[in-house]
């Protein structure tokens, strides 16, 4: 299970389509998406409603507080929307320390309103938590005491009785409609494997129909095998401000193609301590340890491989990582940590063969980067794997130090730090 944020456009698209399918509710929602490559004429052809109503436009990139950054256009006609987007497409903004360029917008009908409601459905271990408030909107946090919550246990039906306390503050005539809406949203939530669905705020349009003004959604991407068809063509965008280097993107695509796990995040392209660690648990601990030793600034990357990738996959992975680790030689000593705990079933020799093949190929770059390699690993066939590593050092003229499971797992971090420090004095 892995929760992935989706764009507001997708949340609304899915809500509109599936609330109609599951609950027969026809919401007055319309959404259009604009990216750098969007042809406005074509957009208009595909979404004729853009011509007939006043519009709202805002960036759709998984961050909030857009109004405060002059990123929301209200009550515009289509030409106004076009101008608004053109003036802001590509603009670099800083949202709480995450910098990134704006490249995706959502356009939807402008709905004048007085009342702003809050609705949030969130998955937790034992069920779903539903939160509702009549005082939604930008001040939700200030009004948090007005938000009412209920926890619905897994497999429990959402009854009117259960929901009643949440809606007790509403005028009587609104309650049936609101009850139906919340129940319907929960149906969509469950049927589509949402893990979070938040509308802050939603309102009732002039016909009295619920209309989400702002919406956030998260899906469980592991449910793709059963819900993927219902999701349709959907991307899981990276968190705002997080761009992928070509290497990261390549590893990401490798990861998608294999049953094993291959992860790479570059932290500092000029860092002098790099990691290539086996195991989800161990990889985090290696990064922790380098940071604890006072070398956080020098940590080049976070990397993890696990789930028994085959030799070819490990080779591709290691080659990409080595390219990054040796890309900025500066004469000063560097270290690569080929670490890991004691594997349960991953064949150490097989994965090491892939890494060794990559190291052999990149030997020149490794030498040019003045890089030493520290290896520590255990598990099936580790003796053979470590022996291969030992032999490689002499063969390619690189210092490769190899440690067995008799030593502490993170001991090589200290060695790497000392090695890097040796130059700094």
């Amino acid at each position: 299970m892995a929760r992935k944020k989706i764009r507001e456009y997708e949340s609304k698209r899915l809500l509109k389509a599936h609330i109609a399918r599951l609950a027969g509710l026809q919401l007055p929602l319309n959404v259009a998406q604009v990216s750098a490559s969007t042809d406005f004429v074509e957009l208009l052809d595909n979404n004729p409603w853009l011509k007939s109503t006043k519009l709202v436009v805002k960036p759709d990139m998984l961050f909030g507080k857009r109004g405060k950054h002059d990123l929301v256009g209200l009550n515009l006609d289509f030409a106004g929307v076009e101008d608004f987007i053109k003036a802001r497409m590509g603009r670099v903004v800083d949202m709480d320390g995450c910098k990134g360029a704006i490249n995706t917008f959502i356009v939807e009908p402008f709905v004048p309103h007085d009342q702003e409601y809050y609705l949030c459905i969130q998955s937790n271990r034992l069920g779903n938590e539903i939160s509702f408030s009549e005082a939604g909107g930008v001040e939700i946090e200030a009004n948090w005491d007005k938000v009412k919550h209920l926890t619905l246990a897994t497999l429990e039906e959402l009854s009117s009785d259960k929901l009643a306390p949440l809606l007790s503050g509403l005028p009587l005539e609104l309650r049936p409609k609101m009850e139906h809406f919340i129940k319907s949203c929960l149906q969509v939530f469950s049927d589509l494997d949402f893990t979070l669905m938040e509308m802050n705020p939603f309102t009732l349009d002039h016909t009295g129909q619920p209309f989400p003004l702002d919406m956030r959604g998260e899906l469980d991407d592991t449910a793709a095998f059963k819900s993927g068809k219902k999701w349709g063509d959907l991307e899981f965008p990276l968190p705002f401000g997080r761009t992928m280097t070509a290497a990261e993107e390549y590893v990401h695509s490798l990861d998608g193609k294999t049953g094993a796990s291959l992860k790479l995040s570059i932290l500092n392209p000029k860092g002098r301590i790099w990691t290539m660690v086996a195991g989800g648990g161990a990889s985090v601990i290696y990064a922790d340890t380098v940071a604890d030793l006072g070398y956080a600034e020098e940590l080049g990357n976070y990397a993890e491989y696990s789930g028994a990738p085959n030799t070819a996959e490990t080779y591709q992975y290691a080659k990409t990582l080595l390219d990054c680790a040796t890309a900025n030689p500066d004469g000063r000593p560097r270290a690569l940590l080929v670490g890991g705990g004691i594997a349960n079933f991953t064949d150490v020799a097989a994965t090491f063969k892939g890494i060794i093949q990559a190291m052999r190929e990149k030997a020149e770059a490794i030498r040019a980067a003045n890089m030493s390699i520290f290896v520590r690993r255990g598990g099936p066939n580790y003796q053979a794997g470590l022996a291969l590593m030992r032999a490689l050092g002499a063969e390619i003229g690189v210092r490769i130090e190899v440690y067995t499971p008799d030593t502490s797992m993170t001991g090589i971090c200290q060695l790497a730090a000392e090695h890097v420090k040796s130059f700094d004095g």
Binding site: M1, R3, D193, D220, L267, D288, N344, G379
Partner: protein, 610 residues
Amino acid sequence: MAGFGQIFSKETQAIFYNWKPNPVQRMLDFDFLCGRPTPSVACVIQPGNDGGFQKVFFGKEEVAIPVCGSVPESTKLYPRADVFINFASFRSAFESTMEALQQPTIRVVAVIAEGVPEADTKKLIAFARANNKIILGPATVGGLQAGAFRIGDTAGTLDNIVACKLHRPGSVGFVSKSGGMSNEMYNVLSRTTDGLYEGIAIGGDVFPGSTLSDHCLRYQNIPQVKLIVVLGELGGTDEYSLVDALKEGKVSKPVVAWVSGTCAKLFKSEVQFGHAGAKSGGQKESAQAKNAALKEAGAIVPESFEGFEGTIKKTYDQLVADGAIVPQADVPPPSVPQDLEAAKKAGKVRVPTNIVSSICDDRGEEPTYAGVDMSTLMVGDRGVGDVIALLWFKRQLPKYATRFIEMCVMLCADHGPCVSGAHNTIVTSRAGKDLVSSLVSGLLTIGPRFGGAIDDAARYFKDAADRRLEPDEFVEDMKKQGIRVPGIGHRIKSKDNKDKRVELLQKYASKYFPSTKYLQYACRVEQYTLTKQANLVLNVDGCIGALFLDLLNSTSLFTQAEIEDIVKIGYLNGLFVLARSIGLIGHALDQKRLQQGLYRHPWDMVLYTK
């Protein structure tokens, strides 16, 4: 999970869902190391299978583990097996786990698959809680009780198990998310304490079936566990239920804990680490906050992972000094014979191969025929002639040669429904037999009287031509030996009504072959035989035989010894068999398409005689 203590013992038996030879073998090896009298796997479920067994080693002997076709069947047959080890894929893990939980005899289910949807896991959790059952996982390697029972691959190789003293119980209860780190920690515990009593990896998901605190509460109820060690991870709030349990005094045994992921603050935007649940999110889910909360609640928390080992050792030594722990004695493990596969990999034994093959290799990224990969064959203008050249002759032949091979295949593909091969195929197909039987029944007629003449023609022409026998000498010589010259003679064709196929081949060869020495020799033989009788023409077998000799000689790609070999071991007969298979398949299919009934030879077409 209220009131749970020990969930495994030396008598525990498991039902293993979805046959995987390695983990099952590892479980039985562990059993043997622990001195268990019976294997820990009661049966294996292979969905849809009805019965049978799988062979596995139990120590030095092989045992048969029964196979069941469904979950209810397995629990009915093995009611004492209360652990269900589910190796189903993430797509089907939910259904099989739910079915297992519904069985009254099953108490613990371990779900190995990674990628089970959150909503599915939540349903499993709800059911397990309502029915007082335990789920381990999903996305876990499982767990083990030292000296008693092991789930699947937990703790890896036998060497590792012995090195970590897991074949006999120690005094430490351990729980973590990570399977890999569990194994690493078993190693650490073997260095710093008297070893593990029980260890569980709960899995890396956001909502594991059972939590760190669930197992700590169990360890509290197990008298043999004197020290609890916990390795948590950033993301989620599971550690806080342990904090609460500590604060409320529900866990009163000493707990040494560390939550990894303190590095998350280095990342500017949200990061998904290796485990699905390990996601940097709010402050409360950070490693720092959780370590602080655990420390405040009374757990012994080191400054860093580096300090974890030392802290465990210090705590353990103190417990021993206080008399709270009496260290468990070491027990020498029995030796388990090494598996051939593992010994081979480690270079400890050598085993002769059973088969040698020199024409192809299917081990790489794409199959190769005689070193030529599939892409090369598919993208160029290569044909089936090239494939035959590679797989039969182990080399690439020039275009004129492969084209000639293809012409031979085309010419020999069929010769009507009446010849013996086609006839047999038709009769067999009409008897309701399958395609392969029909084809083979036709092929079996190929031999000295039907279709086998190409090889012989080549052999005799080669021998005679190489010995420079004059055609008349050759023919008369054969006659003296009572052998009909193979490749000469036709039932219908004659001097003035030559076989069109032969003409086409001759025309092609004279245009493209660098030399046609053997064909010329065969023609001279024909000239002589035609003086004897008008139907003693060079037939298609003779022509192919002679031209093949020319092909082999003229390409200069074959040594004389190789040519001798090719003629001797029956390559050319192979060409006929291959070609005629095309026609025979056609006949077999034709009869089925036409829905022809059983063929019975009419009585009046048989001479009944004494």
